[in-house]
Symmetry: C2
Subunit: 339 residues, 2 copies
């Protein structure tokens, strides 16, 4: 007889897409029931066709046969499919939304860096790119190609260090194709990214919002179980005003703010240690006090970061700044009992 653990270990090798998305990692194995010398395996059916099911059954049988010795070849197992939505088998601990209100302040950069920082700490991390019409995440991580499906569910693409990504740009034939959609369709897409993507078990899902306080932000606030919001700003007064609109929106919707991050705080002059405050003196400490949230960090304009974003190698970026951000984030989440 095969034990439940042995069966699960074998099913870990049944890959449904990419290199690492297996039946087990995506929580698609609902039950393994050893019973009367036989084993019942219950697989989540996220809208699989009859053909899909037959083919999957074959793969599972082969995996089990290949992984068991002669003496076990006589085991009897049944593969049962049970209709399930991805949302019902996903286990996401923290949903962290990165927001600003203003465009171009570096929300996606912060989302990417946070994901990298948390991943380096050993967390299971995903990024839901909620910027449907202007998605930046795939390029930053060097991800291209199209997302695969598992039945009607979407299988996230995995980055080099194992961050799960779902983004509109991974559904387009050409990354420059415009997505000319009105609000309700945008909202529908974001809900699908949450409910129909196979996130599996994650410690942290980072949600990268587009600018503004309209459909995308509203949908994320209303339809996702937000743990907390991280606000991104830059040193310009004009930006501060629009960022405050976002903060006021979050407060009106009674969501907790984890903290604020200032991007483009200063320019690190290439090749030197010199810092130039090109957008004027930072006021972020006052702003953080005013809003009543911790300041998580100040990121410089670092041409090195821009290069990594363009080359898709953000995961290789390493700096004291990132380490400091990582620590303050973990601390803020612990303080707020988000962990």
């Amino acid at each position: 007889m095969l034990s439940k653990e042995e069966v699960l270990r074998i099913l870990e090798s049944v890959i449904i897409a990419g290199d690492q998305a297996s039946l087990v990692s995506k929580n698609l194995v609902k039950e393994v029931l050893p019973k009367d010398g036989a084993v019942n395996i219950v697989i989540a059916d996220t809208g699989l066709t009859a053909d899909d099911k037959e083919s999957l059954k074959g793969t599972i049988r082969d995996a089990i046969n290949n992984n068991t010795g002669f003496e076990k070849l006589d085991i009897i197992f049944d593969i049962i499919f049970e209709e399930t939505r991805a949302a019902d088998i996903n286990r996401v601990k923290n949903v962290i939304t990165v927001m600003s209100g203003k465009g171009g302040v570096g929300k996606s950069l912060v989302s990417g860096l946070l994901a990298v920082a948390l991943r380096r700490k050993g967390h299971e991390v995903g990024i839901l790119d909620a910027d449907i019409v202007g998605p930046s995440i795939p390029r930053m991580f060097g991800l291209s190609g199209q997302l695969r499906g598992f039945g009607k569910a979407i299988v996230p693409l995995e980055s080099k260090i194992g961050i799960e990504v779902v983004s509109m740009n991974l559904l387009l034939e050409n990354e420059c194709d415009p997505v000319i959609w009105r609000g309700p369709i945008i909202s529908g897409a974001i809900k699908q990214f949450w409910e129909d993507a196979l996130w599996g078990s994650l410690d942290d899902l980072i949600v990268d919002l587009p600018p503004g306080t309209t459909d995308a932000s509203l949908t994320v606030m209303q339809s996702l179980p937000i743990t907390g919001v991280i606000i991104v700003t830059t040193p310009q007064d004009l930006v501060e005003m629009i960022v405050k609109k976002a903060v006021n929106m979050v407060k009106e919707m009674n969501k907790p703010i984890i903290g604020i991050i200032e991007n483009m705080s200063y320019l690190l002059l290439p090749g030197t240690d010199e810092k130039v405050e090109i957008f004027g003196r930072s006021r972020v400490e006052e702003v953080a006090r005013e809003i009543g949230v911790p300041l998580l960090g100040r990121l410089p304009i670092d041409p090195e970061i821009a290069r990594h974003c363009d080359k898709g190698t953000i995961e290789l970026y390493n700096s004291e700044i990132l380490q400091a951000l990582e620590e303050s984030l973990i601390q803020a989440m612990a303080t707020n009992k988000f962990e």
Copy 2:
């Protein structure tokens, strides 16, 4: 008898809001008909109440009485109101849309600088701030306070050098109040800014779009008689990709592109003439060629501009860069027979 010209000259002094918005400048005087020794004055009624009309009649009578000699006091004139929508009396020659797809690349800055450049050339210029949830224009021009109404029409606020501005932030009690609206309401607001604002006679109306290719951009493309679109980009590859989405949207919607402007091309090191390409080498010439549109100019990151934007004194900004932009814009518009 008063001539038509004399009556119009007098009505120019009848101010409906602010310092300069008069019955005449807003095209609210529909007709002046001298007839049988009397004068019929037809005023556009944009949803005025009975009280509004009585009070306006009194003001007009006073203005005429104060401006005519004793010998003309016996003239008979009738003030007639005729229901009219602002859209029907506005005369706007060019509707120039500033677009990017990506946030934070400086669309509002470009919109503001273009308006200033055209105004300095002697044009009558307006700015329709179509970024309902993240409006930057009022702050940049140092405009605050609430827009006044004339009946149901909105009277734009005038900047120091006479640029007419309509923006959501001029309708809010507090500029940091968030506008938490879904797409259809956003679209409705933009249409109102176009149809219900008393733009009067303008040479150029600059429409400052929010990031993205969703509701606001769609509504402007579909509901406004666009003369042409100006595309704003920055030197990052990541930005270029999203800007191309905007370009492809404009092409799909068969609107002409006037040209492309690169913002943040390089940093002007404060106090020196040194240029640092902090976001990497510019590719905008290739991009312009690829899209098949003229390159209108490259704007630096100039801490001086950031200061002016924060202080609301963008109209005081003066530089060779702005003059060059002005010339290339006028030239592009002439070449494309937009003028």
